[in-house]
């Protein structure tokens, strides 16, 4: 496997390391980190920045009794058992996503959008953002759509191309608001992506009226 060529925006890595990024977007960033040594290094640096900022905060005195209370609580707490080992066998999902979904793609329900393009019934949302999975058969074409907010795709299997580039496993494609794009899955196999979007999208193609009724995409 090669190193990813398309990364989340640097601000997203900062928001992730700072803890201000919301859960849905954090899921995509954490999943990308599983593939990307560069972004892992950047997040580690930004966490070091958090460490410096923490160390430099003007201290606020704590109650005199706090340490005693803490030691009493610790006396009553057993040492944590070592973390449960990851299930054996390779998953198509990177760890953070595997833990969020709890099933492999074959075990999920899928909703057909157009021939060859499916969305998972599994979805998470928080605030205005939501995430689900997108599956494209080899050579399948996702209908043109424009965005009322941002959209990101993380490739986990196969690959796809659009007018902005070609995306392989581990890559993140980011689309700003109001960017129409036409994704086509690579011809040599199925493409599986994590799709994160921040608002319902509006389809522009001939099928748009139908898709806008039935599907948030």
């Amino acid at each position: 496997m090669t190193v990813p060529a398309h990364h989340p925006a640097p601000e997203l890595l900062l928001d992730y390391a700072a803890g201000s990024l919301r859960e849905v977007q954090s899921l995509l960033v954490a999943a990308h980190l599983a593939y990307c040594p560069d972004c892992r290094a950047q997040v580690a640096e930004l966490e070091a920045c958090g460490g410096v900022l923490l160390a430099d905060l003007p201290p606020e005195p704590v109650s005199d009794t706090l340490f005693g209370t803490l030691m009493t609580r610790l006396g009553e707490t057993a040492a944590p058992s070592s973390p449960v080992a990851a299930p054996a066998g390779r998953s198509v999902f990177p760890g953070p996503l595997r833990r969020a979904i709890g099933a492999e793609p074959e075990a999920l329900e899928w909703v057909r959008v157009v021939p060859g393009v499916h969305l998972s019934a599994w979805a998470v949302s928080a605030g205005t953002a939501s995430a689900c999975l997108l599956r494209m058969a080899s050579g399948a074409r996702v209908p043109a759509h424009r965005h009322t907010d941002s959209e990101m795709l993380l490739v986990m299997k196969g690959g796809f191309s659009d007018e902005f580039g070609a995306y392989r496993v581990g890559d993140v494609a980011s689309y700003e608001t109001h960017t129409p794009h036409h994704a086509v899955a690579d011809a040599d196999g199925e493409c599986l992506c994590l799709l994160v979007q921040d608002r319902p999208l509006v389809f522009t193609g001939p099928l748009g009226w139908l898709l806008n009724r039935g599907f948030r995409f």
Binding site: E11, E23, E45, L54, A55, P96, A100
Partner: protein
């Protein structure tokens, strides 16, 4: 009380040494010293992020409990003591205050073959990098330092910083990216 094996290493900074003493010997004197240093800073961090005084002290207890219980997972080659404690504090706040789960990468999650993770030159490199980083942060132009601190201390993603300060999103991104370039230099120098 402090581990003898490392006391001849002049580059080994205090807090890292204290954490190792907690991990190896369950050293409660070392733990008390860590508490005295970090508890008031963790409290300040939680207060900045909107916790009231008693909620902040609850969170201080949570974080320091985790420090005691998980000290054996601290690796001074990978993170300084304050970085390691910062990540625990950040995650506790997300759990408890925002009531969201924090999607985290775990060590065996890596999808690429082989451990291509760069290995630090020596055990306490992370703490030395933190010294350089502190200088870089201190010398950031005020508008860059401002957007950086908002991200860490006010639970604001860059789009919210833009809205709240009435600064165009593009400007916020530019300031953040300039700040990030400068921060990266602090790490580059160590390589």
């Amino acid at each position: 009380m402090l581990p003898k094996a490392d006391s001849n290493d002049p580059t080994m900074p205090d807090h890292e040494q204290l954490l190792l003493a907690v991990a190896r010997n369950r050293d409660s004197t070392a733990f008390r010293a860590l508490f005295d240093h970090f508890a008031p800073r963790i409290k300040a961090y939680m207060r900045r992020l909107g916790a009231d005084s008693s909620a902040a002290e609850e969170l201080v207890q949570d974080v320091m409990m985790a420090v005691w219980l998980r000290a054996d997972r601290f690796d001074p080659a990978l993170a300084s003591a304050s970085t390691w404690i910062y990540t625990i504090a950040r995650n506790r706040r997300i759990d408890r205050v925002r009531q969201e789960r924090r999607p985290e990468l775990q060590p065996d999650d890596l999808m690429s073959e082989g451990g291509e993770e760069p290995t630090p030159d020596h055990q306490f490199e992370a703490a030395e990098t933190a010294f350089r980083l502190r200088a870089v942060i201190g010398n950031l132009p005020p508008e860059q330092a401002d957007v950086l601190r908002l991200a860490y201390y006010e639970d604001k993603v860059h789009a919210e910083i833009s809205a709240e300060r009435g600064i165009p999103l593009g400007t916020v991104k530019t300031r953040l990216r300039l700040a990030l370039v400068r921060l990266r230099r602090a790490f580059g120098e160590g390589a």
